[in-house]
């Protein structure tokens, strides 16, 4: 396994009076897709938001690419090369698709070749380029949200449940896009409830429970062990 680009050590995060993350230890190897799995409410979204600096870790450290980013402001984390796709997609509804993409490229105009690639992967973006993003369907909004993270080359992508509530055809499109990204050598930390997608995309895997990482290993290892799935997540991926 390659050197970790991201390392969380004993991370605790509180939200109001709730102690959500209770000592998360996680390593994300450089290159490939690391799946972050677990039941609802175990702290997967909180983990991504804490890495992004949107919620602060009150204990523990987060190292990204050799630097401690535990107390780094969110914009500086993004500028270090972390792309974030939140669970609610974070689309700017009043802005057009084009304006959303212009904002996504914080370092300057989007590279033409990269934009063409995004149009190939997500055709609706070209179709609705000048339309308000708020008028897009749920699937199209998710495409825009992921395309926004992919507008510039990032060192790490944090993606939170991209297939939630979407039709199978759209899920296929999104999974294809993530596979393309992976093929380009990107590092992705992906929270996903769709086990078929997780199995198809994941290289390594971490399972959370009660605000902690309770198992780490190769995705294929978890995918092939129904008893382990049952024990860790209360279900079997074979059913997916």
């Amino acid at each position: 396994m390659s050197e970790p680009i991201l390392k969380l050590s004993g991370v605790h995060t509180n939200i109001a009076q709730y102690h959500i993350l209770q000592g998360v230890d996680l390593e994300v190897p450089s290159g490939g897709v690391t799946m972050l799995l677990g039941r609802n409410g175990v702290g997967k979204t909180t983990t991504l938001r804490t890495i992004m600096g949107l919620w602060r870790a009150h204990q523990g450290t987060i190292d990204f690419d050799g630097a401690d980013i535990t107390a780094t402001p969110t914009p500086a984390i993004a500028r270090r090369g972390v792309g974030f796709v939140p669970e609610d997609m974070g689309i700017f509804s009043d802005l057009s698709v084009e304006e959303n993409m212009i904002l996504a490229a914080a370092d300057g105009p989007i590279d033409k070749q990269r934009l063409d690639w995004l149009f190939t992967v997500f055709p609706p973006l070209r179709t609705f380029w000048k339309n308000p993003a708020g008028n897009l369907s749920g699937g199209q909004k998710q495409m825009l949200s992921i395309a926004r993270a992919m507008a510039q080359e990032r060192r790490l992508y944090l993606i939170d449940e991209p297939t939630k509530g979407l039709a199978p055809a759209i899920i296929g499109t999104l999974a294809g896009a993530l596979r393309d990204l992976k093929a380009q050598g990107a590092t992705i930390l992906l929270v996903e409830q769709n086990f078929a997608v997780a199995k198809a995309l994941g290289d390594s895997c971490a399972v959370m429970d009660d605000g902690r990482i309770v198992w780490t290993g190769a995705m294929v290892e978890l995918a092939e062990d129904a008893a382990l799935q049952e024990r860790l997540m209360g279900l079997s991926m074979e059913a997916a």
Partner: protein, 343 residues
């Protein structure tokens, strides 16, 4: 490379009514003008009142535009905004008095130059004051609305007392520069020259602001920040800096509004900002919090309503604007052009 499945993406086709609905508030200004015309019946009086109403609306817009963006962007309720109006007016008056030699000459060039210097000085002064106000008074109370109201109100009172210390407790009367006095006659109606200037300045400012918000990256960041500040930060933009810039710009605009309002009323007082804030808040609320276009339309409606009612039934002038606010909020509870906030 993966290709999306064979499906033609479609967008819901909205009916003509649905597409026009968001722009319906644009019709309110001409509708109010027509109602005013039908009520007043005398064309020259109506024309005079309409230009006066538009001028007043433009000045209120200048004062309110910064406030609505500050609220939309950082969820900050700044009851101290009126302080910038008062301080701007006093700085402007002081400069105009100092440039008395220029304002008394019957030269439009010298007069406008004097006004420009006064406006620049007032905007610079209130911009610096806005920066200090944000650092000292607003920053410690982010996210706490009740504290914001109390603390910014306190800030307003302190600034008013400081005005008394610096400029004295009395109101200061001023006269407009020579060439801005008097009126021009158009279609039998006497229209004050200064009001025409106010309309022109307000219109230019609105267009510049609209262009900045729609066509520049900083404008995109502000618009996106009003909707979902967290996501803007996650894309790598330091929204705090943008907010400070907007706060400072809003304070400077309030200072500009103060100078214009002082010249319009031909008197400045320490409380003038506080007094005009009633109309400014009405405009911000009916426009839709965070919406510059809504603020512009709201300001014109308030200006026109104030002038028409003051002519038809003077005692109802302020009440009419409260009534206007109630009517608009019953029609659109979030204001005419609300900005969609991320949940």
């Amino acid at each position: 490379m993966s290709i999306a499945p064979e499906h033609v993406p479609k967008m819901e086709t909205a009916s003509l009514g649905e597409r026009l609905a968001p722009h319906a508030p644009l019709l309110l200004v001409p509708v109010l003008m027509i109602l005013g015309f039908l009520s007043i019946t005398n064309t020259s009086s109506w024309l005079t009142l309409t230009v006066s109403g538009l001028a007043m609306g433009m000045m209120i817009f200048i004062m309110a535009s910064g406030l609505t963006l500050v609220f939309g962007l950082m969820d900050v309720i700044n009851f101290g905004h009126g302080a910038f109006v008062s301080v701007g007016a006093f700085i402007g008056v002081t400069i105009l008095f100092a440039l008395g030699g220029m304002t008394e000459q019957p030269s439009i060039l010298l007069n406008l130059l004097a006004v420009l210097v006064a406006v620049t000085g007032a905007m610079a002064g209130t911009a610096i004051m806005g920066w200090a106000f944000e650092r000292v008074i607003v920053k410690p109370v982010y996210g706490a609305h009740l504290k914001q109201i109390l603390v910014t109100m306190g800030g307003l009172i302190i600034v008013e007392q400081l005005i008394h210390v610096v400029w004295g407790p009395d109101e200061i009367f001023l006269t407009r520069p020579e060439t801005l006095k008097g009126a021009v006659t158009f279609a039998g109606a006497a229209i004050e020259k200064y009001r025409l200037l106010a309309v022109a300045i307000g219109l230019v400012l609105f267009l510049v602001m609209r262009w900045t918000l729609k066509s520049t990256k900083i404008g995109l960041i502000v618009r996106a920040g009003v909707e979902n500040g967290e996501m803007v930060e996650a894309l790598g933009y330091r929204l705090r800096l943008v907010f400070i810039a907007v706060f400072v710009a809003g304070s400077a605009l309030a200072g500009l509004g103060g100078v214009m309002w002082g010249l319009y009323q031909e008197v400045v007082t320490a409380h003038m900002g506080q007094q005009i804030m009633i109309l400014v808040f009405i405009v911000v609320i009916i426009g839709g919090l965070g919406s510059v276009e809504g603020c512009f339309i709201g300001a014109l409606l308030v200006g026109l309503m104030q002038n028409y009612t003051a002519f038809l039934e003077p005692k109802l002038a302020l009440v009419s604007n409260i009534g206007l606010m109630v009517a608009i909020l019953m029609w659109r509870p979030q204001g005419m052009m609300p900005v969609v906030k991320a949940k």
